[in-house]
Amino acid sequence: MNMSAVGAIYRFEMMRFFRTLMQSFLSPVLSTSLYFVVFGAAIGSRIEEVEGVSYGAFIVPGLVMLSVITQAISNAAFGIYFPKFTGTIYELLSAPVNFLEIVMGFVGAAATKALFIGVVILLTASFFVDLSIQHPVAMVLFLLLTCLSFALLGFIVGIWAGNFEQLQLVPLLIVTPLIFLGGSFYSISMLPPVWQTITLFNPVVYLISGFRWSFFGTADVPVALSLLAIAGFTLLCLGLIWWIFKTGWRIRS
C-alpha cells in the first residue's frame, strides 16, 4: 500500500479546499439560513408538527443530507475531472499507485469536505431550532457513509464527464430531484398512497429516513433497511470504480 501517495493526493485536494475556505464555509451557511427562513419560518408556521417534531427541526436532517450529498458528488467529480482536463492525470497513471490508493486520496478528501459542510450546517441549524440527537453514533455513521458513498459516485461522474457541463449534469438532473423528492422536507406518510409506493424506489428516501431516525427516533422505512441500502450503494460504486480502473475506461488508452 502506497500510503504516501494516498496522503499526497489527500493533502493536495484539501489544499484546494482551504484556499477557498470562505466560499466553502459561507455558501452552506447562507443557503441553510435561507432554507430556514423560507421553509422553517414562512411555511413551517403553517405546519405545526410532523410526527411529533416541529417542522423547523424536522427538515434539518434533510437539509444536511441535501448539502452533504451535492458537495460530496461535486467535490469528488471536480477533483478527478480537473486532472483529466489539465492533462495532469498522466502523473497519476504513471505513478506507483493502484486504483484503491487513487480513490482513497480523492474520495477521502471529497468526503472530508462534505463532512465539514454537514457539520457547519448542523451548527447553523442549531441557531434556528432546538436539535436533539437521540442516536448520535448512528447519526455519525449515516453521515460518514453518505459522505463516502456519494463521493464515490462523484468520482465516477468525474471520470465519465467529458466536459464541465456534464460534470454538472448528474448532480443537477438526477441527484437534486431525488433528494427533493426523497422526503427532505416532508414525511412520506404525508403523501397519497400511490406516491408512497413510488417513492420507495428512490434510494435517497432510505438515507434521509435513516438519518432522521438518528435524530428523532422516527423513520419512514426500517433503519436496518436504510443501512443496508447505503452499504449496498457504497459497494456498487466501489465495484464500478474497480471496473473503470481495470478496463481503463475513459482514462487509460
Partner: protein, 309 residues
C-alpha cells in the same frame, strides 16, 4: 553494464485499429542517454507512454530495473520519472506544492532538502511560491522536469523536452541532463531537434511508423551513414564542369569558383586522388580545400526517406 530498461516485441494497437507500435525491441544500458528520433506520429510518445504505464500495451513485455511494468508496476514505476511533451500542470497550485505532491505520489518520504536542490538546479527556487499560471512557458517546462526529478528516478523520460524553448533554456536543460548522467541516471529523450541528439546522446534510435529502424552509437552511426563532401575552391571561375571531370559526382558552386565533391568515406576508393588529378589535368589551380561531414539531421532525413520509398 546491464540493461536497466528492456523492451521486448512491444506492440500497441489503439482502439481505432491504429498500430502505433509494431513490435519494438530495445535494451537501454544503465547510465546512458538514448535519443529517439522520428517524425511526428512515429510512435515515440506511445513508446514512452506504454513504458510509463499511461497506455496499456497490446503485446510484448517491458522490464524496468528487472521489474515487469504490468505485474510489478510499483517497482517499475518507482524508478521512472516522466517529463511529458505537453505542459500539463494544475494552473492554480504553487510550484513547491505541485513538486512536493509528485514526490509523495511516488511513495517517497518528504524531503525538503532534495526538493530545494531540484528547484535551485532548475532556477525555480525564486518562483517556488508562485502559482503555475503566473509562470512563463519555459518556466512551466522546468516545473515539469522538477516534478519528474522530485522522487529521484533512476530512469528519466524526456518527451521533447525542448520543444518551443529558447536557446538559453535548451542549453540549461542539456547541462541538467549532463549532471543527471553524471549521477548515473539513465535518460531516454525524444526530440525533433537533431542537434539535441547530436549534442547529448550516447546512442540514437530512429523510429518511424511504429518500427525501430535502428539503434546505434551516435558516433558509429554518423561514421557509418555519414557522407562527406569535399569543396575544392579554385582560382578560376568556370561556366561548366570540365569534360575530364564529368564522370565524377561533382557540383559546380553558383559562384563558379568552387567544385563540391560528395563521397562515401567508407567506400574502398573515395575517388579523391582521381578528382585532384583531373583538376590538375584540366589546368585548374587550387585556392583552398575543405571537407564537411554530414550531420545527424541529414542522416536522419535520408533514413526516413529511404524507409518511405
Amino acid at each position: 553494464m546491464s540493461a536497466i530498461l528492456s523492451i521486448r516485441d512491444l506492440q500497441k494497437t489503439y482502439a481505432g485499429g491504429f498500430e502505433a507500435l509494431k513490435g519494438v525491441s530495445l535494451d537501454i544500458e544503465e547510465g546512458e542517454i538514448l535519443a529517439l528520433l522520428g517524425p511526428n506520429g512515429a510512435g515515440k510518445t506511445t513508446l514512452i507512454s506504454t513504458v510509463c504505464g499511461i497506455t496499456t500495451p497490446s503485446g510484448g513485455s517491458v522490464t524496468v530495473g528487472g521489474y515487469d511494468i504490468i505485474t510489478e508496476f510499483r517497482g517499475a514505476r518507482s524508478l521512472i520519472g516522466l517529463v511529458p511533451q505537453e505542459v500539463n500542470l494544475q494552473p492554480f497550485e504553487t510550484v513547491l506544492n505541485t513538486v512536493r505532491f509528485s514526490r509523495g505520489l511516488f511513495g517517497r518520504p518528504r524531503d525538503d532538502a532534495h526538493i530545494e536542490k531540484v528547484l535551485r538546479t532548475l532556477s525555480l527556487w525564486d518562483k517556488k511560491d508562485n502559482q503555475i499560471t503566473t509562470l512563463s512557458g519555459g518556466m512551466k517546462r522546468r516545473v515539469l522536469i522538477a516534478k519528474a526529478l522530485s522522487h529521484e528516478p533512476r530512469v528519466l523520460f524526456l518527451d521533447e523536452p525542448t520543444a518551443g524553448v529558447d536557446v538559453d533554456l535548451r542549453k540549461d536543460m542539456w547541462d541538467t541532463v549532463a549532471d543527471l548522467k553524471a549521477d548515473g541516471v539513465t535518460i531516454i529523450l525524444t526530440t525533433h531537434y537533431i542537434e539535441e541528439a547530436e549534442a547529448i546522446a550516447d546512442r540514437v534510435g530512429v523510429i518511424t511508423r511504429g518500427e525501430l529502424l535502428l539503434v546505434e552509437e551516435k558516433k558509429a552511426l554518423m561514421a557509418r551513414m555519414g557522407r562527406k563532401q569535399l569543396e575544392v575552391q579554385l582560382n578560376e571561375r568556370l561556366d561548366s564542369i570540365p569534360a575530364g571531370l564529368a564522370h565524377l559526382d561533382l557540383e559546380l558552386a553558383e559562384t563558379g569558383d568552387a567544385l563540391v565533391y560528395s563521397y562515401d568515406i567508407h567506400a574502398p576508393r573515395t575517388g579523391i586522388t582521381g578528382l585532384l588529378n583531373g583538376i590538375a589535368e584540366a589546368g585548374l589551380t587550387l585556392r583552398d580545400l575543405q571537407t564537411r561531414q554530414s550531420s545527424l539531421e541529414e542522416i536522419f532525413v535520408d533514413l526516413v526517406k529511404g524507409d518511405a520509398s
